[in-house]
Amino acid sequence: MSIIYFLIGCSVLLALLFLLAFFWAQRSGQNDDLYTPSVRILLDDEPEPHDKK
């Protein structure tokens, strides 16, 4: 049963890793603007030139 010590250690370490990843995302401002990227991704770099008129 001592494997539990190891497994719990692993799970806590993994969870800590995710927590740190979240901290990093927060610090680097990834959650500051939650709207613009959703529009930006839809804009093609060079859309097909077609005239509306």
Partner: protein, 795 residues
Amino acid sequence: MTESTVTETTICYHCGDECLSTAYAEAEKHFCCQGCKSVYSILSANNLCSYYNFNEHPGLTRARTDKRFDYLDNAGIVKELIDYADDNVTIVTLYIPHIHCSSCIWLLEKLNKFNPAILHSRIDFLKKQLHIKYDSQQLSLKQLVELLFDIGYEPAINLQDVIKKQNTIKDNLVQRIAVAGFCFGNVMLLSFPEYLGLSSLEQSFKHFFGWLNILFSLPVVFYSGREYFVSAWQNLRNKVLNIDFPLALGIAVLFIRTVVEIANNAGAGFADTLCGLVFFLLVGKFVQRKTYHHISFERDYRSFFPVAVQVIANGVETPVPLADLKIGQRIVLRHNEIIPADAILLKGDALIDFSFVTGESIPVDKTLGEIIYAGGRQTSEAIELEVVKPVSQSYLTQLWNNEAFTRQQDNRMQTFNERVSKYFTYVLLAIALGSLVFWLPTSLNRGLAAFTAVLIVACPCALALSTPFTMSAALSIFDKNLFYLKNTAVVEQLAKIDTIVFDKTGTITTATDNNISLNGALTGHQKQLVYSVCSNSNHPLSRMICQYLGNIEKLPVNHYKEMPGKGITAFIGDDEVKAGSGQFMFGMFNEEKGSTKVHLMVNGAYLGNFSFKQNYRDGLQKTAAELAAYQMFLISGDSDHEKEALQPVFGSEEQMNFNQSPQNKLGFVQLLQHLKGKVMMIGDGLNDAGALKQSDLGIAVTDNINNFSPGCDAILDGRSFNKLPAFLRFAKSTVTIIHCSFAISLTYNLIGLSYAVTGNLSPLTAAILMPLSTATIISFTTIATHFAAKRRKLA
């Protein structure tokens, strides 16, 4: 002057406005003005015409084409504006009100195609901000702003940039929630075996799990929950008992008892309850915080006055920052610029639009030598003025020297939570000490167990959550109905109001749709004549007449002569058409007080006039009737010519006050407050700013949320004006909901206490009771609030 005969409407390719002339066309595309056309030329020269493919007519109409950014050469001003600068790279954040569609994002993030010196540009769409990193060796801020202006995105620049400040306030609440949530999850995992029962074989784990739990509780108590201790301590020192005190006490007791139990191998401790408590409390805080990215509630005159003004000295124009403007200096103001200080008109035709100040949208003519108060916007050609008062001392801005603005007060009324938590704390401490004293003769251990159990179980978690969750649900309901509240405390204030003071112009009247009516009959031909003449003028009244007459075929106009601010004469074929003010048409003429009229004459024969009156907002009468339970007053800076029309709305004459200065308005609100009224002020312009600030609840009404609105507690979109009675009733319902949820959380506390006073509180009971009460409160408040909103027809 343009001569044109457009028969069908053409729409400007850039901005989508109607083209009144065919003079501006390029590559088979029509434009309404030179400005729009030049934007198109710049974009097409840079191969960026895809801009027009994402959205139809993404541009903003550009009546103005002259640039006025000379003040950006002033190093002092530039320094205030930029975020960061070193030898090569400068970073600046600009607020661009026009950002509104995906085309804007596309274009503004491609700025370096225009100028390679722009290294990087990023839009924050909701905040309407553009972050630019550029090479300051090759590009100055002035050139950058001019480029933005050229492509139709003029940044709004002012030194007191509140929006920017408001959006940069950062704390680590999210991170504290993350830590608490992380620990909560792990502790739950480690506590479960204990609850399910460990066999004798696994007893060694018990100790291990216990110490791990303590380890996880440490960051929860000392990082995530730290603010509760700080706040409780500060309040104790100020001799105030607020809800943070029992919360901090609960957290501390939970932690100490957990450590003691585990260290003595006496039990499993309450680590899961502790982490859950802090986690839910912080989530409550997070929910309560509502941010409107593009709305600011703290604006004063500085955020809408220009940064600098052109001063003439010895025939040379130099930009001078507003703060350095002195009495006696001669300033030049061009079309669309704002008068920054009280000044005497020296030269030019002043046609001043005071809509920012009073809400009145029809511009006013001023004659030479007249004093023009600060805050007006010049709508005709360039004028020269002599400053007679410094910026901060003008008729309008001296309002901000009033003590109402220096007083630092967030909430002018105590919230229910604040009032109740004081008594709650006393009762809680009494019960805890009572049970300690009761058990002490029997056993010290039992006494301490009972004492701590009471503090743990009665920890007002549900109570602390009831207000934030109810209020945030209420706030989103208001938000949906175009009513934007500064914070959650405003809802409770709204429920307590018993006196309402209205401003007139712009508040109960609409600023936009001026009611234009034609007095007299015109034949079809005469209409055509008037339309043709008026369509040549840029005067707002002429434009309104054109709009009123609709789309008529234009006739060629000769000998067009416009006397700015007075009237127009022109010939069409052999017909002489005159349109203008009474004075212009007949020499001496006494216009009816308070009305604006344009008289018409063809070949010397008087045809009648157009009169412009303000429209009252839709359903004003009905709204007022529904508000009959409140004391209502009208306070207006205008003369009393509309008294009779407003009599049925406000009842008696005593409730209407006319000819009031901004200071008077503030004083009137103060007077009502002395008479023990809870005053809500509803206004719109800068002249109401004092009264809005002084009142218990200031609401600014605006027809466009992005426009300027003075500092206030809430901003109401004009379209929702008639929902005001429903808003007030709904606010009262939310307070009732808070009372109910308070009763629910008390019931849970009593159930818990019945266990706790005996000293036999098992960790499992606490671990079930705490999340259960929290879940009940959250679901009850959310459902009840939405139900209340449905009943008021707000959801």
